[in-house]
Amino acid sequence: MLYQLSVLVLVVPLIGGILAGFLGKTTGKTFTNTVTIFSVLASFLISSYILYTILNQPDLIFNQNIYRWLEIGSYSFNIGLLIDNLTASMMVVVTFISLMVHIYSIGYMHDDPGYHRFFSYISLFTFAMLSLVMANNFLQLFFGWEAVGVMSYLLIGFWFTKESAIKANFKAFIINRVGDMFLLLGIALLFSLSGSLDYSTVFSSGPMINNQLFFITENLSVSALTLACILLFGGAMGKSAQMPLHVWLPDSMEGPTPISALIHAATMVTAGVFMLARMSPLFELSESALSFVLIIGSITAITTGLLGLVQFDIKRVIAYSTLSQLGYMVVAAGVSAYSASLFHLMTHAFFKALLFLAAGSVIVALHHEQDIRNMGGLRKRLPVTYTTSLIGTLALIGFPGFSGFFSKDALIEAVAHSTVYAHEFAYYCVLIGVFVTSLYSFRLLFIVFHGPLSEHNNNVQEPQLSIVLPLILLSIPSVFVAWPTVGPMVFDSFFSNSIVQPTSIELFGYEFTDSLHFLTHALSGPVTYIAISGIGVAYLFYIKQPEIPNKLALTFKPIYKLLREKYYFDYLYENILAKFFSSLGNSLWNLGDIKFIDNYIVNGTARKIESLSNKAQLLQSGYIYHYALMMMLGLSVFLGWVIINKIGMAS
């Protein structure tokens, strides 16, 4: 029963997407959105039912192969499902956000000529994401991994006539591919060590792998497991946009806003975090890999947050915020607090989707204006959007009581109690990050919704219901979802059948009793106060004395420039690396292929033969007796050879 239902969860969005894609153009918009929304709704309901079933039956792990994909000798590769608490909760999150985005898109994409294409894509994306989440083996993980990448590629380039959009989607795909390559290599390494791609086999042979060495040179070797984990994390760095592979995510904001909410905030980018949690049996065995994860995550958390301070595009600010929050999740995984990481993933999915959709609502209301310098004072014109944005922002900065508070606090608590190498560094990074988060979040909020209302925005109205409704629906979990769930998910054994991690006492140094107690406990830490001070500074900078930021920018010009240029990563990739490789290709082609092989070797041989034959032509006098003489010469030589042979044989 569970098996059939799980397959149904997977297949229904696929069918919906295919139907919308093939029939949407002819059957019209209503058909398209009905089909896709109902398929995702069905998927959501079934996922919820599965989660419910699993909650009622603790320790139920459901692991079954659907079919055998490939079988070579003793190796077999399967397509299968693994349903446990981790998967089930991810499924619910994914389908819920997807459902919201579907509904939202009815209004947002209403006038777009690519309406059916859009719905088809997001349904297919849902399918891909689900297949990633539900995989019971690395092969399917990789399939989902790449498939979500492709859907993201197509959706970023959804408005394909925009030069910037197709540039962004190309960039996104290539950078993701860099990560995917590492992931594939990690998978290949695990395969070569354990001989299988199934999670269960690989995980059970983890301790055995841990003892093996991978020889880089004759003498230099690393632990094979550490290498595999770092390679796997390389994949996560691409997909979850960690430094230095983060550059594609801000650019991906070229896509429609619902996409930014669904793919580039809530689901796809968290795939890396999900994978880290899924691979926890391996990562737990390698301290060095965890440190690596921790360092990368904390660098990402702090640096990308700073970038959010200087952006003027409403979506880019949120995108950098997403990057920073992803950094937090990775940090949590780095200190082995996978449950906290996943919990933050879940709450973040809700409030970040909310923020994006709210931003989309603003964008729609202002007729596709995205520059925050042209906004201001929209509070009165867009009351629902404002309220929901406020909720999202408060959740994001971890204001006490909101869902983000619980997740972020648990996470920072875990960092504080960690003993992994570089944990102090990570701790300071995340603390500064909290301040930066609230600063840029409220900067955005204040600039967009407060301040004076500009002239041309006077007639702005709240958009239609299908846009507003998801905002309201999403703000509910953004506030409340953590209250009942923080206990079981973070501190209790909810994930114990799918994740290997130390006990909550070891991790957090705190005995959880109930959520209210946790709230009061957290208030004793510095985090909340740092966040509130961030609000204060933002209030000072952007409402009381708006000239301060400009002054600061002038005073610290080099730093400001560094931030505006995004630490020159784009410059490095586009102008140095990409140029280098394309000119390398060009010169290999021109020098290697054309000049050397074709002109020198191939045609050179031909030319040589031609010149030789020109010389040989001099021998060709045209006189018969010259030819006859040559024949004579040949005959005499031949006879001589015969004689020599004869004599040789005789002796």
């Binding site: 060709q620 006098s621 045209g622 006189y623 018969i624 007796y625 030819y627 006859a628 003489l629 004579m632 005959l635």
Partner: protein, 101 residues
């Protein structure tokens, strides 16, 4: 004692004379054709000698055919020669070098 070797040697000598004749000649193609006849005679010598000493008639049969073909060859060759002379007004090998280019 007449042995096979003596006949073969004779054939070899005649053959070489024919070959030399083809090459050293600068007068006309007719002489070359005659030299070819000499070559054939030399070859025929060998055939007949082998046929005699091995008591195998096949050699003679072969000579018979060679003679036939040689006659045909001579006829055609001379016909070509006549045609050539008509066109070029010469059969001098020194002047016949249209094989070049």
């Amino acid at each position: 004692m007449l042995t096979l070797q003596s006949y073969l040697t004779l054939g070899a000598i005649i053959f070489s004379i024919g070959v030399i004749g083809i090459v050293i000649n600068r007068k006309n193609i007719i002489i070359i054709m005659m030299c070819i006849e000499l070559l054939l005679i030399a070859v025929n010598f060998n055939f007949i000698a082998f046929s005699y000493f091995n008591q195998d008639l096949a050699g003679q049969i072969f000579v018979f055919f060679i003679l036939t073909v040689a006659a045909a060859e001579a006829a055609i060759g001379l016909a070509i020669l006549v045609a050539l002379y008509r066109n070029k007004k010469t059969i001098d090998v020194q002047e016949l070098n249209s094989l070049r280019n």
